[in-house]
């Protein structure tokens, strides 16, 4: 593998007045025991836009993403600030359970609960205090529509979610996350286990969603990043080397490493 100067970076900065931010990290560092997995994570995620995190396996992008709603709390030490509406949600006094309702997450492999399709969405809502049946039904429908799954499942909502195809399961997981009304949605390679048709549907759903949500997604596929996202960050060996508009990254990157990666000359 070619060695790159990890000090040489280009991170685009926004003016928060001009471009409202959905989430911002300042100097985020992640340690697994003695292993320093993420170094200088400072990024701004514009509101109601999709940001893609790209990079090779082990570049730290998933670690970074999972730190954003503190899913790494049990296994890693995360230092630095994560600002959500000017509140540092990485602070120890934060109620992580409440915070995760604002910053939702969807994982690489679809992980629906072993419950019916309806209950996959309604169960967390009930637990969050929503009791009215009509309200529940309304919210289930709305989020399934948003995730572009409604038409496929509306006739058998009482079927087990495990009977759905992989792509449907993944969209169900997105619908489940959306039902909690988050502001920020984190997606960890949501399409990696899916076939092209399902991927297409998923991307369409994401495209519609970005009007209302700040979406941050990790992806392996550069085509996907370029198709779907507005902004792209390039990760390499635990460092964020470049962050800019997707269009710019995929046409005239500032950094040699980014150039090599997107042109496939990497390693």
């Amino acid at each position: 593998m070619k060695t790159y100067n990890l000090e040489e970076t280009y991170i685009h900065k926004f003016d928060p007045i001009e471009t409202p931010l959905g989430l911002e990290t300042k100097d985020l560092q992640v340690f697994y025991g003695d292993n320093h997995a993420m170094y200088n994570g400072s990024l701004q995620f514009p509101k109601n836009a999709i940001t893609a995190l790209i990079g090779a396996s082990g570049s730290g992008k998933s670690t970074f993403l999972r730190s954003l709603n503190r899913m790494n709390d049990d296994i890693a030490t995360v230092k630095g600030k994560i600002l959500y509406q000017d509140v540092d949600i990485n602070a120890s006094e934060i109620n992580v359970y409440e915070m995760r309702k604002h910053v939702g997450m969807v994982f690489q492999r679809p992980n629906p609960f072993a419950k019916s399709i309806f209950n996959n969405i309604a169960y967390p809502l009930r637990k969050a205090g929503m009791k009215s049946k009509s309200q529940l039904a309304e919210r289930v429908e709305k989020s399934l529509v948003q995730a572009a799954l409604w038409d496929e499942v509306k006739d058998d909502l009482n079927r087990s979610a495990l009977a759905l195809s992989g792509g449907q399961q993944q969209r169900l997981c997105i619908a489940r996350a959306l039902a909690m009304n988050p502001d920020v949605l984190l997606l960890d390679e949501p399409a990696s286990a899916l076939d092209p048709i399902s991927t297409g549907k998923l991307e369409q759903a994401l495209y519609d969603l970005q009007k209302h949500y700040t979406i941050i997604m990790v992806t392996h596929s550069m085509q996907q990043a370029s198709r779907v996202s507005d902004y792209t960050a390039f990760f390499h060996m635990g460092h964020i080397l470049e962050f800019d508009r997707t269009q710019r990254i995929f046409t005239r990157p500032h950094i040699q490493a980014t150039e090599d990666y997107i042109s496939g000359n990497f390693g």
């Binding site: 509406q85 509140v87 006094e93 109620n95 359970y97 409440e98 915070m99 604002h102 205090g129």
Partner: protein
């Protein structure tokens, strides 16, 4: 900002629930811990009294062969030699575990890998039934079937370690099998799929991937199986002969720590030497079990390194 900050920092139902939940779960574990400590304390305090108040030397206890704590022998102290029982317990436990393990592995593989549907439907209830048969019945069946068969084949009385091993084999099999089945199920599906996708045969996928991934589970299963064998009394007592003699072969009458303990405990008075000597046997049993446990864990750790 203040509103959202308040919302994100105040305790919610979830945090309270988590705190209560953690406490409830902790109290349950603490209860078990308390139980373990108090049972160990009881056994240790009574078991050690043999040496501290009864003035029996620990060395004699571990190496002498005469078990007669109720009577004073020639040299002025009661003979409390537990060696025959230690050897007996050790032999039946290890032998039955060794014998049962390949069968248990086969059963578990059959139920999870080879014929999950049929195996599950048929073998599962059978295993569960076996657990429910009382020890006495096992002992009785052993006495009427296994002992005469051994006597016919090998001569002697038929009572002995071999008969004890065979009975224990059937008794520990369900424990090892069912616990191992659980850990085989815990091996993620895609491990197997990955191996099969690489062109491995079913056996290669089982041997190279599934078995290796489930080694810690297998060891736990064996530990619990041996624990069952250690603690079993009524069945073993009927077929092993229950004679505190050092066994010279597998078919001469022998005894185990548990069988001597169970036979004698009702006939002795608490606080006296004969009674304490029996508790010493229980203490030895616990220490042996602990030793086995640590040994098996050590083997497990080494196995993981060589993988």
């Amino acid at each position: 900002m203040d509103e959202i900050k308040r919302q994100l920092t105040k305790a919610s139902k979830a945090t309270r629930q988590d705190r209560y939940g953690k406490w409830i779960a902790f109290i349950c574990t603490f209860l078990i811990g308390l139980l373990v400590v108090s049972i160990f304390y009881l056994v240790a305090s009574k078991g050690l009294a043999t040496f501290f108040r009864g003035h029996i030397s620990l060395w004699d206890f571990l190496t002498h062969q005469d078990w007669n704590p109720g009577q004073v022998s020639k040299n002025g102290v009661p003979s409390v030699g537990a060696l025959p029982m230690i050897v007996g317990s050790f032999s039946v436990t290890v032998l039955s575990a060794i014998l049962a393990t390949p069968f248990a592995i086969s059963m578990a593989l059959f139920m999870t890998e080879i014929a999950p549907k049929r195996g599950q439907r048929f073998l599962q209830p059978v295993i569960e039934l076996l657990v429910g048969i009382p020890s006495v019945v096992y002992g009785f069946v052993g006495l009427t079937i296994i002992v005469p068969v051994i006597r016919a084949i090998f001569g002697g009385t038929g009572f002995g370690i071999l008969a004890g091993t065979l009975v224990l084999f059937v008794m520990v099999l369900p424990t090892i099998t069912s616990m191992y089945v659980d850990s085989l199920r815990a091996v993620p599906r895609f491990y197997r799929e990955a191996a099969l996708a690489l062109g491995a045969t079913r056996w290669q996928s089982i041997y190279k991937v599934v078995l290796r991934a489930s080694i810690p589970g297998l060891l736990t299963a064996i530990i619990f199986g041996m624990a069952r064998a250690f603690g079993e009394a009524l069945a073993v007592q009927m077929v092993i002969g229950n004679a505190s003699l050092l066994p010279h072969n597998l078919i001469s009458p022998a005894s185990t720590l548990t069988s001597v303990l169970t036979t004698g405990i009702g006939n002795t008075v608490m606080g006296t030497l004969p009674n304490n000597a029996l508790w010493s046997l229980a203490l030895i049993l616990l220490l042996m079990s602990l030793g086995f446990n640590l040994l098996v864990r050590l083997i497990g750790r080494q196995g993981r390194f060589t993988k």
